[in-house]
């Protein structure tokens, strides 16, 4: 196996060196946020220091002070809700399934999208320690949980140069589809 680059939050310009397709690990604090947390942050402000932060698209299963299961949720739902986080200094978005070309455009020169294997909730939780919570009234799935990561395995899905594995795969799929089903 290829050696992974080990990243730690807060992130800086090292994210600019990452290239789509590269395996990395992420350590340090990340903040979970799904649809409702994004809406709340746009209304009431970001409750953590966004500079160099990593936002994890995830609604975990928490029991007491433990993270039991915490795989990624579908990032595309946050496509239209992400710009303010990047403007505030967030350097990495972690999730599954990729994001829109508009988000990839906004990440150029400043941030990356890191893909986490969907459904691998116990694998992810085995690298996590719960550190805090914001907006707990939104409920377990939608609250912002501050979680410390210990080498979570990820792959760079969209790099800061705008290269996007998901859209490349999607373009190839579209060509295949048209070739097969053109009428």
């Amino acid at each position: 196996m290829v050696t992974s680059r080990n990243l730690r939050t807060p992130l800086g310009d090292e994210v600019l060196d990452l290239r789509a397709g590269e395996q990395v690990t992420l350590s340090g604090i990340v903040y979970t946020a799904r649809d409702e947390a994004h809406e709340r942050m746009m209304k009431d402000g970001i409750p953590f220091d966004p500079r160099g932060a990593a936002v994890y698209h995830c609604g975990p299963v928490i029991s007491g002070s433990s993270v039991l299961a915490a795989g990624p949720t579908t990032s595309a739902r946050m496509n239209a809700l992400t710009g303010f986080l990047l403007d505030a200094g967030v350097r990495a978005l972690v999730g599954k399934g990729g994001m829109s070309p508009a988000v990839a455009g906004m990440m150029r020169g400043r941030a990356v999208y890191l893909a986490c294997t969907g459904g691998c909730a116990v694998l992810a939780a085995s690298r996590m320690t719960l550190r805090g919570v914001f907006f707990e009234d939104l409920g377990m799935a939608e609250a912002i949980w501050a979680i410390e990561l210990d080498h979570l395995p990820l792959v760079v899905g969209i790099d800061s140069c705008g290269r996007d594995i998901f859209s490349e795969v999607g373009e190839r799929a579209k060509l295949q589809f048209t070739g097969q089903f053109s009428t």
Partner: protein, 279 residues
Amino acid sequence: MMPLPGEERLFAAVSEATCRALREAEIALPGDVLAAIRKAADLETETVARNELANILENIVLAGDRGLPLCQDTGVPVVYVSLPSSVPFTQTLYDGIADGVRTATREIPLRPNVVSPLDRKNSGDNTGPGMPAIHVRPGKSFTITVLPKGAGAENMSRSAMLLPTEREKIPRFVAETMLQAGGRPCPPVVLGVGIGGTFDSVAALAKEALLEPITTMDPFEQRLCNAVNSLGIGPMGLGGKTTALAVKVKMAACHTASLPVAVNVQCWAARRATVEVRW
């Protein structure tokens, strides 16, 4: 919730069986699904895709070892009951299943996923009006089958009312569903395809197709599966050979002027379990 007088024992037995089925489904994948994922991992040659499948297989082992749900999206409870004539078909059956879901939510634990649709208020216990979704059929044995359904894949599902002359468009519709979905439903997926019936029943057929073992596919199912895999979407949409582990089809008769088709998308965590009700 209190059981009907005289049906306390039935209520308790149904509740216990529902909870037991959920525990089994949420923590361990059925053998046929696990075998299909292992086979996909053996076939894959690209590094990124191989790593994704290796993570999935490691996650399956860890969930089993720790007795924890495979995925944090523990789904909404979809329940199928086989009911012999000796068991009374009353509200107790529905109430017992809901009670089992509440217990499972507390004890496994499951993430509370069920909200009211417009104000998005969470019930906190994975039940609500019309939820769990319960389907009852007559049968020889008294069994409860659960199919916890996560939203990432469910949201990518589609149905269409095709014209009777558009039978050849079915493979296109199935492949197009995954083309639009890309990596969002956590591929490699299992696709349940319903064909025929009515506007409402075709979606139910598609979901029931997901109850079928994926060990074998008939030639039509294999053709649909090949069409999907030729897209190269791969594990998590990062590219690769296996986009669908299997496609399963269920059909019903339909109106001579209709051709309803539905595709229910299921992520790689194709969770299902059947248990006998002990009573």
